[in-house]
């Protein structure tokens, strides 16, 4: 009792006192901040900047105790075997930017009282199945529980508890995703749709596209029934394996949702292919217009791939090939130009100036060819398996071009 009162007194005193040093000038003005002294001056570092005064103008300096010092003082007056007392100190430490010390103290509390709920919560832990765990592990376990059919447990107990652990933005998305999955599994289609809409707003990139698509599917099928036009996956009949039969099915089943996403992705693939075909027609006469069409196709494939991972890989390989074909036209033109210029070197008697001019033109052609080869390498790079020939060809070509450039540069510099 006495000890608790003493601790309380210290805490009160400390919380009411300023935590900064204080100087009093001879004219009566006072300033608070972190005080230091150097070469006849007194410096006060405050929130908005540092002010300095000649030491002769300073009447007094009061050095306040640092937070660390204060914490040590508290601990001296705290019973280390009293979890509640220790908790107060741990909270003070946390509130005074001593998070690591706070954490250490919380671990001490847990050693004393393993199931101390507040200490555990402050450490970002929650209890599932008699085990304490941190949020990432809790999220994984909640996913497992969901897949085991324990949606009520996840929705009513686990997710609210996770929300109290101060999740970061990514963890918040995962929690929301779990909620959406649970609502869907329980056939609460409207709630699921809302959750997916929120996710689409919170997330970005492919994830946002995916969530938006799910929300849209649920919006288009508010009764939760999706009519599969064919069995899913469509390779099941070719390769054997389990499949979902064509016909009416509940979107609460994740395979049905996957089938619905697949159907949606097909629409984007169709749009992408149409743009690709239009590009093919424009390639020889209007290469820039063809490139624009290919970019359009890429966007459609991005959406399709967001819905079904890697669905459009073979089309992207084809797009890369087509783009490489366009770049190759330019590259071949430049290498031809270089070859013609090189022929001229041997054929004519050249003045030094004319020779230099020729070498400069050859260099320019090589530089342009090099740019094209680098572009080809960049296009083919993500598909190094499928476009191994194009990649190897461009790399070898680049080596040769670089070697020729070195020689020509030496020629120019030597002259």
């Amino acid at each position: 009792m006495k000890q608790a009162a003493a601790l309380l007194a210290i805490l009160t005193a400390l919380s009411s006192a300023a935590l900064a040093d204080k100087i009093t000038l001879k004219d009566g003005r006072t300033f608070e901040g972190v005080v230091s002294q150097e070469e006849g001056k007194v410096l006060v570092k405050m929130a908005l900047g540092t002010v300095s005064f000649p030491a002769s103008e300073v009447s007094s300096i009061e050095n306040m105790a640092t937070s660390e010092d204060q914490l040590e003082a508290m601990l001296v007056n705290t019973r280390r075997d009293d979890p509640e007392a220790m908790l107060k100190v741990a909270v003070w430490a946390r509130d005074n930017d001593l998070s690591r010390r706070s954490e250490d103290l919380l671990h001490e509390i847990i050693n004393l009282s393993p199931d101390h709920p507040t200490a555990r919560k402050m450490l970002g832990q929650m209890k599932i199945d008699s085990k304490w765990m941190e949020l990432p592990a809790a999220l994984q376990l909640a996913q497992n529980k969901l897949e085991a059919g324990k949606m009520d447990l996840v929705l009513e107990q686990l997710l609210p508890a996770m929300g109290e652990l101060g999740p970061d933005a990514q963890q918040l998305c995962r929690i929301k995703h779990l909620e959406a999955q649970c609502q869907l599994a329980k056939s609460r289609y409207d709630k699921a749709r809302q959750a997916y809409e929120e996710l689409a707003d919170k997330c970005s990139g492919a994830e946002a596209v995916r969530y938006a698509a799910i929300a849209d599917i649920l919006k288009s099928h508010p009764d939760g029934m999706f009519v599969l036009p064919e069995e899913y996956p469509p390779t099941a009949s070719l390769l054997g394996g389990a499949s979902v039969q064509a016909g009416p099915a509940p979107l609460s089943d994740k395979r049905v949702l996957a089938a619905a996403m697949h159907e949606r992705a097909k629409v984007d693939i169709k749009a992408g292919r149409a743009a690709m075909d239009e590009g093919k027609k424009l390639e020889s006469a209007e290469p820039e217009a063809a490139k624009a069409k290919y970019s359009q196709a890429d966007k459609s494939f991005d959406v399709a791939d967001a819905l079904v991972t890697d669905l459009c890989r073979s089309y992207r390989v084809e797009l890369a090939r087509r783009r490489i074909a366009i770049v190759s036209l330019s590259m071949n033109a430049e290498t031809r130009k270089y070859d013609l210029l090189k022929d001229d070197l041997g054929k004519r008697d050249l003045t030094p100036a004319a020779y230099k001019d020729l070498v400069v033109k050859m260099l320019r052609a090589l530089n342009n060819a090099r740019t094209d080869m680098e572009a080809i390498i960049q296009l083919a790079g993500p598909f190094d398996r499928e476009l191994v020939l194009e990649l190897t060809d461009a790399r070898l070509g680049l080596q040769k071009v670089n070697a020729l450039r070195d020689i020509l540069n030496q020629e120019l510099n030597g002259r």
């Binding site: 508010p222 029934m225 009519v227 469509p234 016909g247 991972t309 073979s314």
Partner: protein
């Protein structure tokens, strides 16, 4: 009186309680329940729940007709199912759902009115007809149709070949390639015998089928031509010319034109040509299964790599080609099969063409899995056909 009224109230209340006990009264709840029952193969329960909802005043309750239809269809009640699909068609708004319902109605109708069993075209010919068709006249008879000009040394034969050509082309375009039309004219020459055939037929002579097709440019026109033989070695009318050779060579001609400069795997080309023949080739089904089950098998990778056929394994190659094409046709929809051919024509390998046709991402070991699934199916089919043949013989 009061007693009877009281009894009525009790009975009514019991009925209401029973109704409530069947499930939630909200339409969503009932639809979900009926879908789960359908999935659990509790077809009667699914039908009852769904019909109850479909016939209620619940908003969008009529969408439940598709569950009623599916439940009936899976119980084998195709006429009733078709009726329910029509009810669903009246309320569905999504194009995909409409197409699905129409297709199911078509399937229901097909199952109640099965197509007549395929017959060899020569089956309808009497002994007199066969004798007449074996006659070789000095004058060449010419018979023309929209797509064909048939020349034969027998007027009845020219007519018969013209008629069968039309049917074979329709089958190839509609059922195999899903092509709307073949907009070209083909010349068909029926030579009396092998020596006349060898002397005159310009195309690649196929010793296995006894016919040839030609597609080539000559000056400013394209020659499309099929050469056939009228008589067998006993100088009798060779019925195989209309049963097998004509549709086989016609399919090759159409395929070569379809693919143009693009490469079509030989296995697919030969398999399709055999699939163009009206009758299922049971001997090849049995041979394929036996080969795939034993040391003589040509696996899928090797099948697709073959550019020509050695005499040594030609029979197995043809049999497996036929089996493979049957397998693919049986497992892909008509649109998917057509898409596969289009992707092959665009330059894809078979693996990629299939993945694009069914719209699935690339998968490691896809061709191996496909090969294994096809082999298992081919062996199973061979056993089945063999068992049927044995039973018929007994």
């Amino acid at each position: 009186m009061a007693g009877k009224a009281g009894m009525l109230v009790v009975v009514a209340a019991t009925g209401l309680l029973a109704l409530a006990a069947r499930g939630p009264s909200s339409p969503d709840g009932r639809l979900d329940q009926s879908l789960r029952a359908l999935w659990a193969e509790q077809f009667s329960a699914a039908e009852e729940l769904a019909q109850d909802l479909a016939q209620s005043d619940a908003p969008d309750g009529a969408r439940a007709w598709v569950v009623v239809a599916a439940a009936r269809q899976r119980q084998g009640r195709c006429d009733d199912a078709a009726e329910a699909y029509r009810q669903f068609l009246a309320v569905c708004q999504e194009e995909g759902e409409k197409r699905y319902a129409l297709r199911q109605i078509e399937l229901c109708q097909q199952s109640t009115q099965p197509a007549p069993a395929a017959e060899a075209p020569s089956r309808g010919l009497s002994a007199d007809d066969l004798a007449r068709l074996a006659e070789v006249q000095d004058q060449t008879s010419i018979e023309t149709t929209e797509h064909f000009v048939v020349r034969a040394a027998n007027p009845a034969l020219a007519k018969l070949v013209a008629r069968q050509s039309k049917l074979a082309l329709a089958h190839i375009c509609r059922d195999l390639l899903a092509e709307p039309d073949y907009p070209h004219s083909v010349e068909i020459y029926v030579w009396p015998d092998q020596s006349a055939f060898r002397a005159n037929a310009p195309g690649r002579s196929n010793q296995w089928t006894g016919g040839a097709f030609t597609l080539r440019q000559e000056q400013f026109r394209t020659i499309r031509r099929i050469d056939l033989m009228q008589l067998d070695q006993d100088r009798k009318f060779d019925a195989a010319v209309i049963d097998r050779v004509l549709p086989h060579e016609m399919c090759h001609l159409v395929l070569v034109e379809f693919f143009g400069q693009a490469h079509c795997p030989l296995a697919l080309s030969e398999g399709l040509a055999m699939a163009a023949e009206p009758l299922a080739n049971k001997a090849n089904i049995i041979l394929a299964g036996a080969a795939l089950a034993g040391p003589k098998k040509i696996d899928l990778h090797d099948m697709l790599a073959k550019q020509s056929c050695d005499d040594g394994d030609a029979a197995v190659f043809y049999a497996e080609s036929y089996s493979l094409v049957n397998y693919l046709q049986g497992r892909l929809s008509r649109d998917q099969f057509k898409e596969m051919l289009l992707q092959l024509k665009a330059g894809c390998w078979l693996e990629e063409a299939l993945q694009r046709a069914v719209c699935m991402p690339p998968e490691e070991g896809f061709l191996d899995q496909l090969g294994a699934a096809w082999e298992n199916d081919a062996i199973r089919n061979a056993h089945f056909i063999q068992a049927l043949e044995t039973r018929s013989a007994l």
